[in-house]
Symmetry: C2
Subunit: 525 residues, 2 copies
């Protein structure tokens, strides 16, 4: 007997015969509950139910989606301890501060911010051309499939995280595909989501949950004719399989795939803030055992005695710090393979690269280094992502080499440059920054990349292969909502038939609209 | 000796040995000038030169791109007669009013609107979060390849049309791939573009022109590591080859592929405005020999005596109107094949479907009809696009069938509904409109789809297979610019290093910025 799936408004046994169990990475022991692998018929049933739900909701005002999201956030708060305990058991992420004080409040905050955006409506960029009688607005595009990652069991959960919140706030039903490493956490969220949906009178298929599918059925899900779009956060290899299927079907898919988040520490900055940088970098890199999309996986320095000292000091900290528990046996295996691949490509071990504790999923904090010329000889191999508590230091022989390394970088979510506060590094900064700017979604100064604030100005995105399209962000409201929307133009449509946000009378004093080239609040004319 | 290509700021002979000639569709005679098919090395050289140009321009203010676009528009105006004459010879589109009084002014108007948008800067959605120190803006993403279509030799020309204007206004160099049916027109534009680039001190590879490549080399162009994005307007089959290559490389590609633009005429509307509708429809469908992306290729009616009368009246008009000259022998061939395919799928001929004049490229105005049940039995086959002077009338046996037909529609650029002005059709309208809304980029009332106004509220886009992504428009400024841009976030970046549009002091009183959730003009703080 495996856990029930949530399909078309009902918790029911899965039709699937195959099951899986999560494991406790802190003990390597399997957790008791069995979860089903949903067969294709069940996946299709979910999409059909979501499409039916969409038929009911597609004309609804943002207020309806806001009410659901807020009720859901309240229900999550009410059962926070249970959810946090499950997530801790399944991921070994610490209850405090991480899960309880940081990630859970972030999750409900995102849901409430998304609700506010749905209610206010400016996210949809209502645009009115009074002279031509043409008006346009972003509107929902239909059922959205959300594939959540392993590393944020709450804030990026497929049925509670940022993609879920954005898809719902834009007016779309969601078919959540849980991550196999934390199915119970996801099930608990889905219980709250289902209750919230009932309490706010959402139609039956508006929120649904399956735990796992085969890769082939996942590809069928993202290319289903009745699907509107997909949000995916996870490994590059699995993501690219989905991308190919969705692209071939002409279905939008937003992917967050991989990123090594280059950090530059320029000579003046290193000289000026040596001790602070040792601490800041070590904290950023080892936090959460390095299992962040924005973990600083590569650090680029000018070679020299001070940099050698820096490598040694960080290596010392790495070797002293306890090795954090990794999210799963799969993560541990990939991490070890990633480090092996970097060594194969020419990286040398400064410290680590050895087992840390056989009783739990983990591996020693690992610092690698290489020269700029070695990096430039194999830039693809030395940009492999080793997802975990490690980083690669690249020591460039000259400023030209530093620039050449930047030119050889793939697309990343972030890029940071630390430089001297008095301007001593400015000439070099000015050579690197314009090149780096085009390679990353978020450019930082004097700050490590691991914090991703939920700000309207945030970009948690970047050029391929960091994501599938450099114009969209997965974090940040309202911009994240526009991923799950289509542009809907009304030409000469009779005024009473327009959506409220495009009528002459504004539905809300808060709504911003672009009217004949001016951004305005209030009524027209 | 074939015409020169424009590569890296110089007109020079192509390295290609293969050549082609355009033909005059009004006489079926080949035109004298030979144009080269560029080999892969030449294509790659153009991308490299564009990437070098981008290195120079990527930090420039919008003013620089605006100056180029305005100078270019002036130079086009100055040689309008020459360009129009060439286009007339290559496409048989009439000099007046079409080319001289409509399409050429639209072209320069688009360039000037794009210039104004580049100068003003609001298109880039500058967003400032003063509390977190995070700021973001859309910025250029690198060289853009533009593939223009055959049917608008001026306003959608690869080196003068909407995609070109949008890509440049967003700050990107353009590699134009001309359409093979009007190479001389394109060459004349490129001469003006090159002069404008020199006059406004743009770098050498900023605007470049090749006329033709093999399909395989086109696929390499859109997936080139140094390319930023592609804009394509043309046939579905060629576009999908490019889409697959660009998607696999993670390069954004914006495609306008095909559309049959369903028009619904509801019973009350037909009764009320019978004669007007016969005229409006015939004019819209036969204008430009039906060679518009938004041509009404399918008309959906309730079966009945009045609809039979309507079919007969339109058929009469079709048979009386002269058959317009088609753009090329290739268009003529595809058109005939398209009609044959519709017949094969079950459509009956009302009138036409025969050669009209062997001395020029053309085919009789062709009206087809079918029943709703036939359509529903083969919805894919009966939605084949026959690009030219034809349309298919679908006569639905019931309101339910009308709705079912709507549900069976593929994605389209437009969808129109004509209904009774006194509200007699409103119940039926309310059943159809929500279904149609999700299938089309632009929903019209009481108006044929063929006019595409350059309005900030326009959407010339729609769900696949009309385009490759339902969130973007190819026409309408400023939205069209955002296709050729990436989201660039600045986190804790020192204030003097920010782009001007993100500094506390606004670079222009006209610039709209989102500051802490408010849309504002002027300085911060």
């Amino acid at each position: 007997m495996s856990a029930a799936v949530l399909i078309n408004g009902e918790w029911r046994p899965s039709a699937g015969t195959e099951t899986f169990q999560a494991m406790n990475p802190a003990t390597r022991e399997p957790l008791e509950t069995r979860f089903p692998v949903s067969p294709l018929a069940e996946v299709n049933e979910a999409v059909e139910a979501a499409a039916n739900a969409f038929t009911a909701t597609r004309g609804w005002p943002g207020e309806r989606f806001a009410a659901f999201l807020e009720k859901y956030a309240d229900l999550i708060d009410a059962r926070a301890d249970t959810i946090v305990a499950a997530a801790n058991l399944e991921t070994a992420l610490p209850v405090e501060p991480r899960l309880k004080n940081v990630e859970l409040p972030r999750t409900t905050n995102q849901l409430r911010q998304a609700a506010a955006a749905a209610r206010e409506g400016s996210w949809a960029l209502p645009t009115i051309d009074t002279k031509s009688g043409i008006r346009s607005i972003y509107g929902p595009l239909g059922p959205v499939a959300v594939f959540g990652p392993n590393n944020f069991p709450l804030a990026f959960n497929s049925i509670a995280g940022g993609d879920f919140a954005a898809a719902v706030a834009a007016g779309n039903p969601v078919v959540a595909k849980g991550h196999s490493s934390h199915p119970e956490t996801t099930r608990l969220f889905a219980e709250a989501a289902h209750e919230a949906a009932q309490a706010t009178e959402m139609p039956a298929g508006f929120v649904q949950l399956i735990y796992r599918t085969s890769h082939a059925d996942g590809a069928k899900l993202v290319s289903h004719p009745k699907l509107g779009a997909t949000g995916y956060t996870g490994s590059r290899s699995a993501g690219l399989v989905l991308k190919q299927a969705a692209d071939a079907a002409g279905k939008p898919i937003y992917l967050e795939l991989s990123s090594i988040n280059p950090v530059y520490i320029l000579p003046g900055g290193l000289e000026e803030r040596f001790d602070d940088l040792v601490g800041e970098f070590t904290t950023s890199c080892l936090m959460g055992a390095g299992q962040f999309c924005t973990n600083p996986g590569v650090v680029i320095l000018r070679a020299g005695p001070k940099s050698d000292e820096f490598v040694a000091a960080v290596g010392e900290r790495f070797s002293q710090a306890p090795a954090g528990t990794l999210l799963s046996g799969g993560v541990e295996r990939s991490f070890r393979e990633g480090i092996a691949a970097l060594k194969e490509a020419g990286a040398e071990v400064v410290t680590g690269d050895e087992p840390a504790d056989e009783n739990r999923c983990c591996y020693a904090n690992t610092l690698l280094k290489t020269t700029g010329s070695t990096f430039l000889a194999n830039p693809v191999g030395l940009q492999a992502e080793a997802f975990g508590n490690s980083s690669l230091f690249v020591l460039a022989g000259s400023d030209d080499e530093l620039v050449a390394i930047t030119e050889a970088l793939e697309g990343n979510l972030t890029g940071c440059i630390y430089s001297h506060t008095g301007g001593e590094d400015d000439a070099l900064y000015d050579r690197i920054a314009p090149v780096l700017r085009e390679k990353v979604g978020r450019l930082l100064n004097d700050k490590m990349p691991t914090g991703v604030a939920v700000s309207p100005a945030m970009n948690h995105g970047g050029p391929y292969p960091a994501t599938g399209h450099p114009g969209f962000t997965a974090v940040g409201i309202p911009a994240a909502l526009r991923r799950f929307a289509m542009l809907q133009c009304y030409d000469n449509v009779r005024l009473h038939r327009l959506p409220d946000a495009l009528k002459d009378k504004s539905p809300s004093p808060d709504l911003w609209r672009c009217v004949d080239g001016e951004c305005r609040q209030g009524d027209i004319g």
